[in-house]
């Protein structure tokens, strides 16, 4: 086949939340140049979070996951190219190539390729019945196989693993969660929240094994069981591996972009390559809510807000990424909402009673509020935002008192700080 080249003012690599939002915002802002949106999956941009929740349980069909309908992209003159995996970038000639040697010339490139699900490296990891859960194809594969499966081992007690555990339990499957740390969600939440979620899952019949890893996966052609690190063997017909993602930045780094954990960007989401921006899960960016440290955030909020920053810059407006991080997770009837970034906290306060299944964990660093995890406590989540944004200093005893609204803590402080000016 003769390689073809087409040229666009903006080429967006990655058709997830970030890529889609970048195209949407560019058009909203009146950008009239040509836009190509390249995704490596066979589908139009869709929402990923439901894949481990109500898409897995078949409560929502795929059409309801589409970020915008097909006609939208045509009407907005956004050319969506599906099944295009970009494997190479030449920042000098400003070309990107797909794995089928199709070339796209860009004036500006927005890299929003996200990441791929990390896989196990142990013996048996290639067996039929071992799944990851990142794409629609993954979710469809799991749903199809579930018809013949009654027992599932989930590797990883992070958000994906726990959401999948809740969904599979709902479908009547027997579930074991294997977590290498001494508690679930260890990387992202404080201990009281970990223990709360462990209890909830156990009360729904989930078997949680902590301080445990997978030694090997057993089976001839397809999975029959898992041997754990303590040499116990559990039988199952399916393994779901939820151990994080590997940022998809290979072509960028090969082209010379700086980066160790994803690709490095500045507050304007610019990589070290000219006219190449990166957003979303793969973008290691300076974040005010992490004391200016470079972090990667895997969230819809982050990818959408970074997309908006780049779209503004591309039409010549000033913009910098300063958005307040927020996240959510749904498991059973529990709504977990997070505001801020808790990493680096040196103190936490439990506000409310976990036994009542409505409470918040408030994280402080040097006496100032940096984040809240709110379980069935939407009011704390909404009112806590201001505490995080102002990095308010509050007596932990007051924070823990549910009779004092978080909102009431903001107003007197802002009067105080105003009077100091």
């Amino acid at each position: 086949m003769v390689p073809t080249t087409s040229g666009f003012d903006v080429v967006i690599v990655g058709a997830g939340h970030g890529g889609a939002q970048a195209a949407i915002t560019l058009r909203q802002l009146g950008f009239e140049g040509s836009i190509a949106l390249l995704g490596d999956e066979p589908y139009l941009p869709y929402e990923r979070p439901p894949l481990s929740k109500d898409y897995l349980t078949a409560e929502k069909d795929f059409d309801r996951l589409l970020i915008r309908p097909k006609e939208f992209w045509e009407e907005r003159a956004v050319q969506v190219f599906t099944d295009r995996k970009v494997t190479k970038i030449d920042p000098v000639t400003k070309l990107v190539w797909t794995e089928t040697d199709e070339a796209f010339h860009y004036r500006n490139l927005i890299w929003s390729a996200g990441g791929s699900a990390r896989t196990l490296k142990c013996e048996g990891a290639e067996l039929e019945g071992v799944h990851t859960l990142r794409t629609r194809r993954d979710a469809d594969g799991i749903k199809e196989a579930l018809k013949r499966v009654s027992s599932v081992v989930i590797v990883g007690g992070g958000y994906i693993g726990l959401e999948a555990a809740a969904a599979l339990t709902k479908l009547g499957k027997s579930v074991i969660v294997v977590e290498a740390q001494d508690r679930v969600l260890a990387r992202v939440v404080g201990e009281p929240l970990s223990r709360f979620f462990e209890n909830e899952h156990r009360s729904h019949g989930v078997d949680i094994r902590l301080n445990m890893s997978v030694h090997r996966i057993l089976g001839g052609h397809s999975v029959t069981g898992v041997e754990l690190s303590d040499e116990t063997v559990v039988s199952c017909e399916m393994v779901i591996v939820g151990i994080g993602i590997v940022p998809s930045v290979g072509p960028l780094l090969a082209a010379g972009a700086a980066g160790h954990n994803g690709v490095d960007v500045d507050a304007g989401c610019r990589t070290s390559l000219p006219d190449v921006y990166a957003i979303g899960d793969c973008a290691c960016h300076p974040n005010e809510f992490a004391d200016g440290r470079h972090v990667r955030l895997e969230s819809v909020q982050n990818s959408s807000d970074q997309a908006n920053v780049v779209a503004n810059l591309l039409i010549g407006r000033k913009a910098a990424y300063v958005a307040t991080p927020w996240f959510w997770s749904t498991q059973y009837d529990l709504k977990l909402q997070t505001i801020g970034l808790s990493s680096g906290f040196d103190q936490f306060v439990v506000r409310g009673d976990p036994a009542l299944r409505s409470f918040s964990v408030i994280y402080l660093k040097t006496g100032r509020v940096i984040a809240l995890d709110c379980v069935n406590a939407v009011r704390d989540y909404v009112q806590g935002r201001k505490l995080v944004e102002t990095r308010i200093q509050v007596d932990p005893v007051v924070l823990a008192n549910v009779d004092v609204s978080l909102k009431s803590l903001v107003e007197p402080m802002s009067i105080d700080s105003a009077s100091l000016c």
């Binding site: 309801r64 006609e71 939208f72 959510w328 749904t330 709504k335 939407v378 989540y381 009112q383 935002r385």
Partner: protein
């Protein structure tokens, strides 16, 4: 059945939606690009904030505590405020006029 959606810039769009979806999904499917609906409709954010015509407020389900709290975070909340993801699109809504709330 159809509804009319006014965008932030004041443009009116007439949309025909499928019963069984939420109002948020009908607006999104209809190609209105400014309704972010970031959480996909699980009442976890407030990015599908709309104003419902007063005459229809009685035809939609009452506001839940969670929705109420989320809306409280918006500087633009008024008596017509709802999260579009929490409103099932039913035949009762034929002729509804809904306005996209300003972005917070």
């Amino acid at each position: 059945m159809s509804i009319t959606v006014s965008t932030r810039s004041g443009q009116a769009m007439e949309l025909e939606g499928k019963v069984g979806l939420s109002l948020m999904e009908v607006i999104r499917e209809g190609g209105v690009d400014e309704l972010m609906a970031l959480c996909g409709g699980c009442c976890s954010c407030a990015t599908c904030h709309v104003f419902i015509d007063e005459e229809f407020l009685e035809k939609v389900p009452p506001i839940s505590a969670d929705e109420d709290d989320l809306l409280e975070g918006s500087a633009y909340r008024d008596g017509r405020s709802r999260l579009a993801c929490q409103i099932p699109y039913t035949a009762d809504l034929d002729g509804l006029h809904v306005q996209i709330a300003p972005e917070d």
